[in-house]
Symmetry: C2
Subunit: 235 residues, 2 copies
DNA sequence: ACAGGCGAAACTTTATACAATCTTCGCCCA
DNA sequence: TGGGCGAAGATTGTATAAAGTTTCGCCTGT
């Protein structure tokens, strides 16, 4: 029995073909290459990844469950278009969960993890300097996911993955100016608090970080989605 | 076009055939008619619901994403068997989320909702009196879900659905005695606090309720799942 | 010229057939 | 008698084809 036969039920099955499709599409959405509302045709994606529609469909259903794709019956799959109400819910949930996650991360602090965090900060700075907006957006989300992995809490990790993916769409849709997605300095301050094992500070930093992200959004409060047309016509 | 053509992306699509399968299997698991570890053959289920394997597979994948079914590659789908570590994570998450949910529920209180809550309590009492363990288990979870629906927070609702489903399996696996799943009195006290619009009390009641449920569990801390065999032999 | 309806094309949904993998049972050998 | 090898059976993974639905263009009638 080699160690390779250990799917362990938690492993993402990176070698799986469905996962390759899912992660490819997810990356495209998170990096803002696929815009909200874009139609995701099964043939189209299948041809790109050299897979049949069966596998594409499986991947799209998983993405729909994660909330970044909407599947409309008999019409197909589309990149989700979160409403302002959705956005408020997502950030409220993040404000609730992430301080607790960072608490656990402090408990799990170790040289190995600190090293990973440092390395990640370096990658973020590099992408920022390079002006690579796509990488910046992706890495910004990855930072939060990294802390969730560090916490060792698999349920929080699963929840947060959903919330981060949706956040990426929300930021794309509703940011006021073309501000950099996530202040890298904030991330550094959070890491500092984690290194000092200061839960109080870590929670506070995380919370203010999330508040700042949301504050940079323009979450207007239309009566319903139907008003979107009026917005477009007014522009 | 009648109002029926409104899937609205959030509706459970009750008329959908996949959803019928999913909800049927979910109910069977939540009512403890399907025990953890049970193999869920695709042909088997397909024959029961008169559907082809394509639809069954879709339903099973959704259940796997909700965490109550494990899909092992080339082996099939099985009812999940949460570990004690999973159990602790689930209840920690519930202790974090549900007090906040009940907070929102208090904000949303109205005669209509109070009526539904009362009606639900009556159903629970009736099932308890009737000695219908299956209905009791299901209704006990439905109470928590009802409050989440009342909160109007769709993300919390989605998260809680997962947590409740897993909780049902956990309680089945790890309860000390054959205690009634969930104290009905506790639920009544929570409703009372909600009616009084007393957030403080509602949060406290919810928290102690969750603590009590977890306290009635026997979450031993084996090194790994492999020790399960030793437990059985020791018994 | 324009509104309404018919029809074809494209896509999704569902079913079925085929391929790959795992399990199980029987047999053989040490 | 116990263990290991191997083939048959069963089950899942994947692809392809048939069926149903929506959408868009075009045509006709007013």
């Amino acid at each position: 029995m080699a160690a390779k036969s250990r799917p362990k039920s938690d492993a993402p099955d990176v070698s799986d073909r469905v996962s390759r499709i899912r992660e490819g599409v997810t990356a495209a959405i998170l990096e803002h290459r696929l815009l909200p509302g874009t139609k995701l045709g099964e043939d189209e994606i299948g041809e790109i990844y050299g897979a049949s529609r069966t596998l594409v469909r499986t991947a799209l259903q998983q993405l729909a469950h994660e909330g970044i794709v909407n599947i409309e019956k008999n019409r197909g799959a589309f990149v989700a278009r979160p409403t302002p109400a959705d956005a408020r819910e997502v950030f409220e949930a993040r404000r609730l969960i992430e301080p607790t996650i960072v608490d656990h991360a402090v408990d799990a602090v170790s040289p190995v993890w600190l090293n990973r965090l440092q390395q990640h900060l370096a990658e973020e700075r590099e992408a920022e300097l390079r002006g690579d907006a796509r990488a910046s957006v992706r890495l910004s989300g990855d930072f939060h996911r990294l802390i969730a992995e560090m916490s060792g809490h698999s349920i929080y990790l699963g929840f947060l993955k959903e919330l981060i993916a949706r956040s990426s769409l929300i930021i794309l849709l509703y940011r006021r100016h073309d501000t950099p997605a996530c202040g890298t300095d904030h991330h550094a301050e959070i890491v500092t608090a984690i290194r000092k094992r200061d839960k109080q500070a870590a929670r506070a930093q995380m919370l203010s970080h999330l508040n700042e992200i949301e504050a940079e959004l323009f979450l207007k409060d239309p009566a319903a989605d139907e008003l979107r047309l009026a917005d477009v016509l007014g522009a």
